[in-house]
């Protein structure tokens, strides 16, 4: 699987992402500068990494959503290419209209830097085929604005179309307000686009891939994408 990771001014998780992709895909990803209007040819997966692009000025991801490289990302997405937005990347995808809704300030106002439990809602997508449906995984979060919100009609549509891929839950996999630390609507942690090729996810799978430093629950997301691309080839 050939992947590209976009660097915006203020991105800070692009190297963690590149490391995870290198470890799991066995191939060095291409780092792409935000001012490049086109993506390199032959890319299977484009990743918008975490960080504080443009200092979170105006709104998180608002300015990055208009970066020249986003034209290339739109073309890639329109052609069915895979796009993964992590944390700030998720915020950018929402601001760019590639995903519905918006990530608002955490309900309790505090910046969260901790491990969370996520239930993988379905395994029949490129992003989740590396997991079992209903599996509970642990991933780290680090965000002040992860509170997913959309108009109730949009939320209902996301739920009925099975486009909520990851949900904050208790360690037993049960949705519970006590385990929804940022107050996201319906404890939504990750959302899939209408054409099922774009995923936005607030937690950081790229930071749980190495047994030397902790859990490896993040591997399944990337390994599943590799398998998907290999199968589609």
């Amino acid at each position: 699987m050939r992947s590209a990771v976009i660097i915006f001014p203020g991105s800070n998780r692009e190297r963690d992402m590149a490391r995870a992709l290198r470890l799991i895909c066995g191939r060095e990803p291409t780092m792409v500068w935000h001012a490049d209007a086109e993506l390199p040819a032959g890319i299977d997966l484009v990743v918008l990494p975490g960080g504080f692009s443009y200092g979170d000025y105006l709104r998180c991801g608002a300015i990055a959503a208009h970066a020249p490289v986003m034209a290339g990302v739109r073309v890639h997405a329109r052609n069915g290419g895979l796009v993964l937005g992590i944390c700030n990347g998720f915020q950018i995808l929402c601001e760019a209209g590639l995903l519905p809704g918006v990530l608002m300030r955490n309900g309790a106002l505090k910046f969260l830097c901790r491990e969370v439990h996520l239930r993988v809602e379905r395994s029949d997508t490129p992003f989740t085929r590396g997991y079992n449906a209903g599996q509970v995984i642990r991933l780290p979060v680090a965000h002040g604005e992860g509170n997913f919100y959309a108009h109730p009609a949009i939320i209902a549509r996301l739920e009925s179309e099975g486009r909520v891929l990851f949900r904050y839950t208790s360690p037993a996999g049960v949705p519970d307000p006590n385990w929804n630390f940022n107050g996201a609507t319906n404890a939504i942690a990750g959302v899939l686009s209408e054409k099922r090729n774009v995923l936005g996810l607030m937690p950081h799978p790229e930071n749980h891939v190495d047994a030397a430093v902790g859990p490896t629950d993040g591997r399944g997301l990337f390994a599943g994408l590799v398998a998907h691309v290999a199968q589609a080839a």
């Binding site: 105006l58 709104r59 608002a62 300015i63 208009h66 929402c94 601001e95 519905p100 809704g101 918006v102 608002m104 300030r105 955490n106 309900g107 309790a108 106002l109 509170n147 919100y149 959309a150 108009h151 107050g183």
Partner: protein
């Protein structure tokens, strides 16, 4: 030419920052505050003198960047 774009949260959208400010006002001893919602003001200087054209341009700016229309309303005023 000077203009002002005011961006406010749509009603019904949760505003925890507004709530925090409300609490701080209460702690300051300012009585009778029943609610606070926080917004943004953009003071913009434009070339030219065509107010109509300015309004059109700033509405475009608000729709595309200054406001997130999922959760925010905006108002454009060209200042006298």
């Amino acid at each position: 030419m000077k203009a002002r774009v005011t961006v406010t949260l749509k009603s019904g959208v949760l505003d925890p920052e507004g709530k925090a400010i409300e609490g701080a006002l209460r702690a300051l001893g300012i009585a009778g505050v029943a609610g606070v919602r926080q917004g943004k003001v953009f003071d913009i200087e434009l070339d030219g003198t065509d107010a109509r054209r300015a309004e059109v341009a700033l509405t475009d700016a608000a729709e595309k960047l200054l406001a997130n229309t999922v959760i925010e309303n905006y108002r454009v005023e060209v200042l006298p």
